[in-house]
Each structure stands twice: as structure tokens, then as C-alpha cells.
Symmetry: D2
Subunit: 398 residues, 4 copies
């Protein structure tokens, strides 16, 4: 029998996790094609990752609606077919039963970014223990070889990196003293690492990217990947910017506008939170073009659009003899449908990396991220090459 891998979502009833769960069930039942699944392309499958059918799904969430209800709502919004949602209804109910109530707040000082208030949650140390217990219980109940924790919860605002967040020992002391130094996403990452679970940071939230967390992963010998899934406008940017660079065309300005609805849109409408997103979206351009480029970057919430995102980019560039030219593109994508298969890809590839003993930030997975952790650039083709070379090596391992 194939080794079993656990996929544990932080935000298990959100749009991305719900779509990924629907997809995993549908793929296992042979009800849909593998479109969008990068891991099933020959060059990536070469890594010999676990199959989608070998994934057991669970997770934490604080929201109320059940997975079957969430799936119905997404089907109504056109993310996938109504029939498909019905066909996997029972599977969704089973996964839903495995979802544990999450930690709603990252501590007494942070009342703002909680979901629905849970019971009194005590110190962060208590929360860590509770999360670790949930993870251990999941692993035991399904006799899993490993559990990959994937953060697809709502984006958090950026944090100031205090001494406790920079150094693992300082962090441990603070936790031991009953303090609550960790942002919520990092609290989950901390608990996951402590429980021996690799982590995937699919949002721009701090998660495992704080220095103290990186040290913890290293100490535990665990691999992790992140951050901020590259699904739409930034994906296109990372395909187009190298075109200008290798053709020696000088980009004079690059304006990026994003319209989106859905839960994620609402969170990003909060300008503080948006900072987190726009920062990771903007980073790559300078690196790919070799110089900073002028131009606004907006993310606007438009309730009407639901899970559908429309992005418009306008690139003004200069060619031979100073001639001014321009290019614009409009991207109309369904964010959850774009993100969900990548989440499955990442869980499978990180599981394989864990199996063969890799640890630390997996730079070879930069292909999937707006703000890649570890070695590697932003250029999509270069990332593809790094990914496939790494997969080739992984496939050669036992």
C-alpha cells in the first residue's frame, strides 16, 4: 500500500481549501481532469510524489459553515459545477468532521484580526499545545507517514520583527513567560514545526518566514515552502518581464490594478493588510528587470466579483532609438480555481522532500510563489527549470 500523507489546512473552510478538497475528492473519484495540476506534468511527476488519492485531508478553521455548504456556495459562484459539488458531498462531510476549531486570535493584544471569538484561549503556549495535539491526533487516527500543514487562511498585516521574532531562543523564553509575541500565522507554523510537520505558506502572512521560525525548522530538520501563491497577475508578470529584459527593452513604467471580491478581497481592502500583499507582488519586478520601475499597484475590493479576479496591467517601454511603446493585458481568472491545484501540488512535493530528508526553505518551489523563500529568482521560466531539475534529483532518491 502507498504511504499515506496528511494535508492539514489552516483555514480549512476557506475558498481555496474548499476548492482543493473538492478537487482532491473529484480527482480520486475520477470525476475531473488533472488540468491545473503541475505535479502531474511529466517533468514534475518525475519526483515521484504521493498521488492525490494518497492524501488525507483535515484542518483548522474558526468559521461556521460546513464544507458541503461552502462548496455549494462556490459552485453557485461558478468556481466549479453544481453537479461536481453534489457528487463529492459525502466526501466533504467526512473531511468536515476532521476540521478542528482553530485559534481565533494571536493573543490578548490582537482583537482586530480574529475570526468568530472562540472560548478563552489562554497563552500562545497553550494554543501551541492544542494545535500540536490536533496534528498528532490526525496523524495517529489515519496512520499517516507525515502531515503537511498548509496555510490558506486570511492574509495578515505585516509585523515588525521584534527580537523575539528574530531569534528562536528569545522566542522560546517569551512563550515560556506567557507572552504572545507571534502573529497568528506564525503561531500555527511554530506549532506545526514543533509537531514535526513541514509547512507551506500559501499566503503573504508572516507564517514560517520570521527568522526565529526558520531556525526552528532547521533545528527540527523540516522542509517548508512559501510564500504567497503566484496565481494571476504576478504569474503573468513573471512570464513577461523576462521578455523585456532579454530583448534589452527598457520598461519605463508598469501599472498594476487588481479587482477582486470574495473573502480574500475583503481582507485586502483593509489597507494595512493590503500592504502585505502589494509588497510581495511588487518585489519581483525590480529583480527581473534589473532596475526599479515606476508605476502604481492597487488591489481593490469589488463585492460583485466574488471569487473572480480581473487584473489590468499597463507596461510602457522604450525600444531602439528611444521609441516609446506599450503593452497592456487583462487577466480574468478565478482565484480559488487557480490556487487549489497548486496547494495540492505543494503538499505532494513538500511531502516528497520530507520523505527524502530535505530541510529548510525549498527554493526549488519558487515557481509557485510571489515571494519565494530560499534560493532562486522570480523569472517563471527559470523557476520552472529549477523545479524540474530538483524533481529529477528527487526522483532519483530512494
Amino acid at each position: 500500500m502507498a504511504p499515506k500523507t496528511g494535508l492539514w489546512f489552516i483555514g480549512a473552510r476557506g475558498s481555496v481549501a474548499t476548492t482543493a478538497t473538492v478537487g482532491a475528492l473529484a480527482l480520486t473519484a475520477g470525476l475531473t481532469r488533472r488540468t491545473g495540476c503541475v505535479t502531474d506534468l511529466a517533468e514534475v511527476a518525475a519526483a515521484r510524489p504521493p498521488g492525490v488519492a494518497d492524501l488525507a485531508i483535515g484542518g483548522h478553521d474558526v468559521a461556521g459553515d460546513s464544507l458541503p455548504k461552502r462548496a455549494e456556495a462556490l459552485a453557485d459562484g461558478g468556481v466549479f459545477g453544481v453537479e461536481l459539488a453534489r457528487a463529492v458531498h459525502d466526501g466533504l462531510t467526512r473531511v468536515d468532521a476532521r476540521i478542528r476549531h482553530g485559534v481565533a486570535s494571536s493573543g490578548p493584544h490582537d482583537g482586530q484580526h480574529t475570526g468568530s471569538e472562540g472560548p478563552d484561549e489562554g497563552t500562545q503556549r497553550d494554543a501551541v499545545e492544542r494545535i500540536s495535539r490536533d496534528l498528532a491526533g490526525f496523524r495517529a487516527a489515519h496512520a499517516l507517514d507525515r502531515v503537511i500543514v498548509v496555510d490558506v487562511a486570511t492574509t495578515e498585516p505585516p509585523v515588525d520583527v521584534t527580537p523575539e521574532l528574530s531569534d528562536l531562543d528569545a522566542l522560546e523564553r517569551a512563550l515560556a513567560a506567557g507572552e504572545s509575541p507571534l502573529p497568528l500565522s506564525s503561531l500555527y507554523a511554530y506549532a506545526a514545526f514543533r509537531a514535526g510537520c513541514p509547512v507551506v505558506a500559501f499566503t503573504p502572512s508572516p507564517g514560517p518566514r520570521l527568522p526565529a521560525l526558520g531556525q526552528l525548522a532547521e533545528r527540527m530538520g523540516l522542509p517548508w515552502a512559501g510564500s504567497d501563491g503566484k496565481t494571476g497577475e504576478t504569474l503573468v508578470k513573471s512570464a513577461l518581464a523576462p521578455m523585456f529584459a532579454t530583448r534589452a527593452l527598457r520598461v519605463r513604467s508598469w501599472a498594476s490594478y487588481n479587482l477582486l471580491g470574495g473573502g480574500d478581497g475583503r481582507a485586502l481592502a483593509d489597507p494595512v493588510t493590503a500592504t502585505s500583499k502589494t509588497a510581495t507582488k511588487g518585489k519581483g519586478l525590480t529583480e527581473m528587470l534589473g532596475e526599479p520601475v515606476d508605476g502604481p499597484l492597487h488591489i481593490d475590493y469589488v463585492d460583485d466579483l466574488g471569487d473572480w479576479k480581473t487584473a489590468w496591467d499597463m507596461v510602457s517601454f522604450e525600444g531602439f532609438l528611444g521609441t516609446r511603446m506599450s503593452m497592456q493585458f487583462t487577466w480574468q481568472g478565478c482565484d480559488s480555481a487557480l490556487a487549489a491545484p497548486l496547494v495540492l501540488d505543494l503538499a505532494r512535493l513538500v511531502a516528497r522532500a520530507h520523505q527524502v530528508g530535505e530541510s529548510g526553505p525549498l527554493g526549488a518551489l519558487g515557481f509557485f510563489f510571489k515571494d519565494p523563500a530560499g534560493e532562486g529568482g522570480h523569472d517563471l521560466a527559470g523557476q520552472w527549470r529549477a523545479l524540474t531539475e530538483w524533481c529529477g534529483r528527487l526522483g532519483g532518491d530512494r
Copy 2:
């Protein structure tokens, strides 16, 4: 002193050749930046090609207006600045004096695609001799190490590949018999090879791509490159299509519309000639996406637009769970300004390849072409990698 390289244009007074000549003069005089010059990027400069200042320019044409007049007209159309055109006026006059009257017609049977009628031109064999004499004269007059012949003349319609065009010996017999089997672009390529000159086919015309011509290049030990410069919409396609492929997204249809004016636009408005262009534009998509893709491809002449081209592409694609999404882009570029630096790049790189003894179709130059001759695919990033690896090797040669 640096070795001197000749750059001989077929269509020397056309928009592309004029812009390239203006650019070469301006770069030599330090009046403009190297924007758009791929060969001056470090990874390509590694090949150690001749500098722009080492190029001596001449060519054939059948049109009347002098280079300074043509430059003035292009400056009025916004291709480059009026001041710049004035600053290189004397240099243009000197190049113009080296332009020889070209062959207007490819033979008695082809009255349709001639330019202004020249004097009675006799057989194709006579024409070959005259062209070869012009090339030899140019080389001698400027003490050139080599002359690269670059075809930037008006696009010709496709030809049926008759036995004379498939086999060099059959071709030689036909020419010896006073027949006129060659399309005009191939007549020039034949004469160039006979005169020991490498060839760059920058248009989709048959030129050196007929099998008999390929055999001739091989026999003469000459390198050549082609065909059809990748300057606008197809360039973008070759950057975007791999994005869909490596993300496992299924492209359902890809519609491509091109609006352009100028001389090239007029030629392409002739549906027979357009066949040549649309064929080479369409080819790459199937290769990059791994399956044929539906969708129209039009090139429309709009007098109003002059040298400026607007292209609009609409890509309809399918993601995870069958979700339908789309992307569209608008490209607004100046064709001559995009093509001119590539023409200089190609002349310099082919000269270097000739110097180090390469021969046959240079697949490593596929980066520059819509319909690359030789080994290699259409994916821009892959082409860039092939180009830079080749340049690295060339740089290592003596």
C-alpha cells in the same frame, strides 16, 4: 585594428534597413543608447561579436527615395526623433551611395511581385552574377573580412517546392539552361552563398530555406539564420504560451488580430502574401502548448497606422475542475524600431559564427525568429538559454 564586417541589405531603403542604418550611425557616433540591442547584453556580448562601429553598410534596392529622405519620413511618423535623423544625414548619404540597383523581378514569369521595373534583366544566372559582383565589389572596396547579407525586402508569397528547388544539382541544371526557377528572395540567397556570404532571412519569404539552398550553404561551409523576425505579437506569444503549459492550464482558443500600416502592411493586405506571414506566426503555438489550438489569426492593413502596429490577442483557457478563464493583451509597437536592432544583432552574431567556422542553419538564433531554422523550439526562455549557451561557447573560441 578590429576586423571589418560588411552588412549588406536586400531592401536597403525599406523601413527596417533605414532604421537599422540610422541606428548604427547613431550608436557609432554615441548619439543614442543601446536599448533594444540584445547583443550588448552581457550574456550575448560574451560571444565577442564585432561592434556596431565595425559594420560597413551597403545593399540592394529597387526603390527611388534616398536614405536621408526615407529617414526623414520615418522621423515624421515618430519612429525616431527628427533631430536624430538630421544628425546622421551625412552618414546616410554615404551609405546611400553604396546601394546598388537590385533585381526587381525573379524572372519572366513573375510580373506581379516586382518593384519598379529595372532594365531588361536577362536570365536568373545573369542576375546571380550581377549580385555576386556587387557583393565582391563591396568587400573589396572596404577591405572587409566578410559580408553578411540580410534580407529585409517585402514579403513574398509562399512557393511550391518544385524538384529544382529541392535539389541543388537540379537547380544548377535549370539555371544553366537559362530557366528562372527561384523566387526573388532565394535568388538573392543563392547569389550570396555563391559569393561566400552568410545570409540572414529576416522576412518569411523562402530565401535560404528551400532545400536546394540549404545544400548550397552546406557545400560552401556557410552559416545562415532565419526566418521572419519575431518582433511583436508572436514575441509575446512565445513568452506567454509556456506559462500556460508549465502551469498545466489548457488553452481552449487563442485569437490573434494584427492591425498595421506602412509598406509591410500593404504587402500583407494581399491575402496570398499574408499566407506566408500567418503560416509562420501560427506555427509555434501548437509546439509550445503540446496540442493544436483553435482561433483566428488576421493581419489587417490600416493605412492610418503607419509603422505602428496594434495587436490584440484573446486567450481562453481552462483551469482546475474545468473552470473557464481568459486573458487578453494589446501590444502597441513600432515595427521598424523593434526589428532594426535585431537586424544589427543578427549581422554581428552571424559574422562571429562565420569567423569561428560554424555552418548551416544556426538554431541557436531561434530567439530572434518566428519560424526558426535549425534545431530548437519556439519558447522564448528556452531560446534565450540556447542563445546564451551558444554565445558562451563562441566566446571561448579564438
Copy 3:
């Protein structure tokens, strides 16, 4: 009880008729809003037309699939909700039972544009009698005050206007002699007029627009409206072109590209048929801008797109001191959903016009058409004004 109006579709199982029927049933049952129903805006409702609930629907078709099946297919394509299609299933079945087998071919010489072959159909005179009998039967069965015949069948190619088509007496003689001079759409219009029914020509097919037909309508004292419903790109054009004209901006070129799938798309992919459509699409621009304008107009069939149409227009214009500027737009609409409410609007308004005794081409309905019959221009705002003034007058009548 309100007077009852019959709505008889030519092409009753096509996408437009099916959507209109679904819509009429859904509106009657209070299952949907009146979005898209122009006649329910106060200024138009002023005419006091019959309500949607007062319409009895029937029609001719030659295609096989039943209305409930067609509705299901359209719902799958996203034209309307799956639930809605189910909710009106029984109503659709009832309407479907009233659909009579239509005339498949306009005569022995026209084998090309038939649908599935019907039984031997005899002369056009026989066909006219059969159609008139169907119309009279429908009127009697439902005790209708009047029946409006609406052509939403597949577009026909343009015809040469022969003497029989220019003059009613010549036409009658030809029919009496057993000849088949009429194109199919005009055969239906002839039969409708003969049966005392007003006609709406929603396609660009000749229909009632042949001079001989116009004379017949006049002789019978019947109103008619046409032709070619203005639903998408041409609608936008008729809103934008007057902007350029009243701002004294000179449009230099206007390129129009249309991508569409569905049955209509397939028919228009036939270049001969497309002529009919592109001719009526192009007409208005010259009138609105006061001078002919350069630029291509394409309609391309892309199977993938189904009932969804994407149009891209590029307008290049000149302002003060000759400055060149541009505007482009992309329209992504669902053709059936745009056309269906207009079909209901037209049936209701033409019924009201008939009730108050109007006859001949109803120029006041130009608002709905690409190629308006009767007096009036193409400018959308002017058409709106003409429509609402006419509706005000109609409302004043008994």
C-alpha cells in the same frame, strides 16, 4: 381579461427563441427580474403594450431537440441558471407542443441553407399556404387578438433583388406560376403578412425588407420592424460614435473584431453569410461620423466560446492640432441573453402598434436594430428619444 397576443417564432428552438421563452415563462411566474427588458422602463411602458404574461408563444422550426432539452444545454453553457431551466420545464414542454415543422428550404435551387430535410415541400405557394394555416390555427386555438411573427432563424446570405423581389405584382405572378423566387426568410414574411400578422426581422436575412414585401405590408395595413438586433459591439458603437462626432474629433480608423461560437457563430463563419452580417454592422458608422471610416470588420467562429461573444474594437482618432489618440474596448456578452429580452420587447411594441393601427416599417423601433428600417438614424441616444416619443404617442391612443 387582457387582450391576448401571440408571439410566433421562426426558429423557435434556436438559442434566442429558447432564451426568450424561458424568460417569458420565468417573468410570468415571478422567478426573475425585468433586467434587460426595455419595455418595462417607464418611458417605454408609457406605450401601454401587452404584458409578458399576456403572450402566448409558438413557432416554426426544423431542428430536432425539444425546448426543455435546448434550455438545459443553454443553462449548461451559463446563459441562465440550471435551477431556472428546471423551474420552467413544464411551461417549455407546453410551448414545444405548439411548434410546427417549418419549411426547411426556400426552393428547389437552394439546397445549401436548409436544416434537416423535411418531406417534399412542393412549391413556395404551397409552403405559404401551410405556414398561413399554422398561424391561423395558433390564433384560433388560443383566441388571440393578433399574432406577431418574429424571425430569429439562422442568418441567410444576401440576395440579388430580381424583378420578382422588387415588385409585388411580379412576385405574385411568379408564385402563381409555381416558381420559387423568395429566400426562406422572405417566404415566412410573405406568409405572415398574407395571414394578417405583423413581422419582426431580428436577423440580417432579407425577410420583409425586399421591396415586394414592403408593398405587401402596406397593402395589408400591417406594421413590421427590422432588422438585425443590435445587441453587442454595434450597440456600443452607436453609443460611442456620436461622442466623437459631437466633440468634433476625427475618427481615422475603427477596427472591429468579433469572436463568437454557438449556432449563429457557425453560420457566420460561412463567408457568404457573413457578408450579410458585416454589411449591416458597418453601415451605421459612416452615417454617425459623417464620413466613411477605414478599418477591418471580422466575425470569427471559435467553437469554444459557445453563446458568449467577445468583441474588440480599436478606434484611432485625431484631435486638436492633429494630435493622434486612440480608444479600444472589449465587450464580453452573452448573445442570447442580450437578444432575448429585445425579442419580447419588440413583440409587445409591434403588437401595440398593430392595435392602434400603425402600418409599414416602424422607424421608431430603430433603437433595437443594427440596420433600422423606416425613418431614423443609427445614433443610440437619438433612437432612444425617437422610441420614447413614439411610445408617449402610442400611450395616448385608445
Copy 4:
């Protein structure tokens, strides 16, 4: 001899005024066509306004560069031809000599929005006297029948309407007491009215729109027009929104993004000032669509773009049976070239209104403005009709 009209610019060396002045000189000299001049369309010319050649131009400014220098810079940026700028050089020098140093600051409390500091400017009452003196001097020097004051200066932030700004008597008392209650644009409007001059508010600055100023205009029997010239994206909106409304299509969201450089762009990059612009841009949509519509509106400064503006709008709408559709447009215009002819139009039409004795806000000129003062809506076609009817009446006057 024709009556002479003065055109006095506030911001006489700005891009709009410079382009208008170049245009007036070029038209007078017969060097350019009347493209963009609404007043020369037959329906508007019917008002019998003064000709462009009858305008004497002068103005206030605080900036340093002379008109010929400013014209040269605009020509370099492609707003008009270099040759044209040269051809009117002497005329520009003559106008430049009539430009008086303006008031740089609206009072001691407003240090933020001054231009280059002038000499000590005393109280607002002193400033008013100085401005009035300049206007009277201009009128006398050129024996003008009337002087129209046109504000094309940099946009100011919105103001709180204090009691002094709401009531003329309170305002007079405050000025008499040596206070400085007026924003700069209103200070100019006050001085203009006091000097018997009609005013055109071409920017969104408060200018004549404060209640106290309206009362002054009434008391003086003077006409005025405003505000905020409708030149680009808002112009298109006012042509398109009525299309959705009259077709009963429900607009669900309308996103508007504007990219612009130039001096105006820089001012609008200041978020406080932008408030003024975005407020007037957003107003009309609700009125035209009959309900408030969701969607962001941004104006972003991109230095690279100069006087060229690119706007992208995305309209999401709902049709029959709830079907979701969308439309997007990109507008690429040259702001100064679009505004300049309207400024000449307005000066000529307001002069004619003054001549025939009209007073108060001229609602019939709403066609030209984003935020029309006086009676009338935002719908472009309705505004055109109101304008041309008014012009017809004006033409009938003596």
C-alpha cells in the same frame, strides 16, 4: 469690424492654456484644421459666437518659463508638432508679454498650495484690486467688448464651506476686515466678477461654485460656466452609461483607473487634491444609472507618461435572467490637446451668452463639464441636445 473678445487665463503658462494659445494662433493663421472645436460644428456655430480670430489672449501666472519655451516643451512631448510651435513663436511672444504675475497664495494661512513666492501680497482685498486692475488694463489696452476669465490653474483641494463662503454679505465683511477666507481659485473668480468679467471654471477647484460667489455673479448680472472639463474617461462614461440605462442592463460595478503624468498628474498625486477630482469624476454615474454603483476610482501619477493619459475602465453588468457580462475600455488621450479646444469653445460661447444678456450658471454648457453647474444632467447626448437648442436660441438673438 467684429467685436473683440478677451480671453484671460488663470494659469496662462500651463499646458492647457499654452496649447489653447498655440491653437488659437494656428487657427487664425490658417495653419491647422478645426478638429476638436465643438463651436465650429454647425449646430453650435448657430449661436453666432465670436470667431477664434477675434480673441485677444492674456492671463495671470506665477510660473517662470515663457510661452514659447512651454510650447517647445509640449511639442517635444508630442502634444503638437515642432514645426507648428515654431510657426507661432512670434505670436506666443506677444501673448506672453501680456501675462501678469498672478497671486501665488490665497492668504497668510495657506502656505501649502502656493507656486513660486511673489512679493508680499497683503490682504485678499489688495489681491482682488490688483487682479481687477490687470483685467481692466487688458480690456482698455485692446479695446475689448468683454473679457472672459478662464481658470486652467492647478487643481486645489476641496474647501469646507464656512459662513463667509456661503453668503456674499458675510464674505464682503470678512474681506473688509482684512481676512483671507477665499481659496485661490475663488479669489480670482471674485475679482473677475467684480471687474465685470464672466468666468469659466475648467478645473474642479471651488472657483465660482461657492454660494457667495454665485450670489455675486447674480448681483452683477454675469454668466459663468463650470466646472472641471470633461475630456477623457468621464467623457466616455457619459456616452456609455446611458446605453446601459436605456437598455435596462444593471451595472453591478464600474472600476475606473487613470494613469497620467505632467503637471496636472503631479498635483493629483497629492491625495488631498485628488479628492477634488475623484469627487467630480464619480458624481455623474449614479445620476445616469439611477442607483449608486460600486467600484474604485483611482488617479495615479506616472511621471513617464507626460501629458498622455491612459484610463482603463471595467464595467460588470447583469442582463436578462441575471446573466453576468462585462465591458472594458482603454482610453489613451493627450489631455492638453483634448482640453485646449474646449477652452476656446467655452470662452466663445460664454462671450456670446454675455453679449445677449444671460447670467448665472449656464446649464446648457454642461456638455463640456464633469460637474456641470446649473440645470441639466450628465448624459452626453442629453447635454448635446441642451447645448444645441440653447445655441439655436442664442443665434436668434440680436
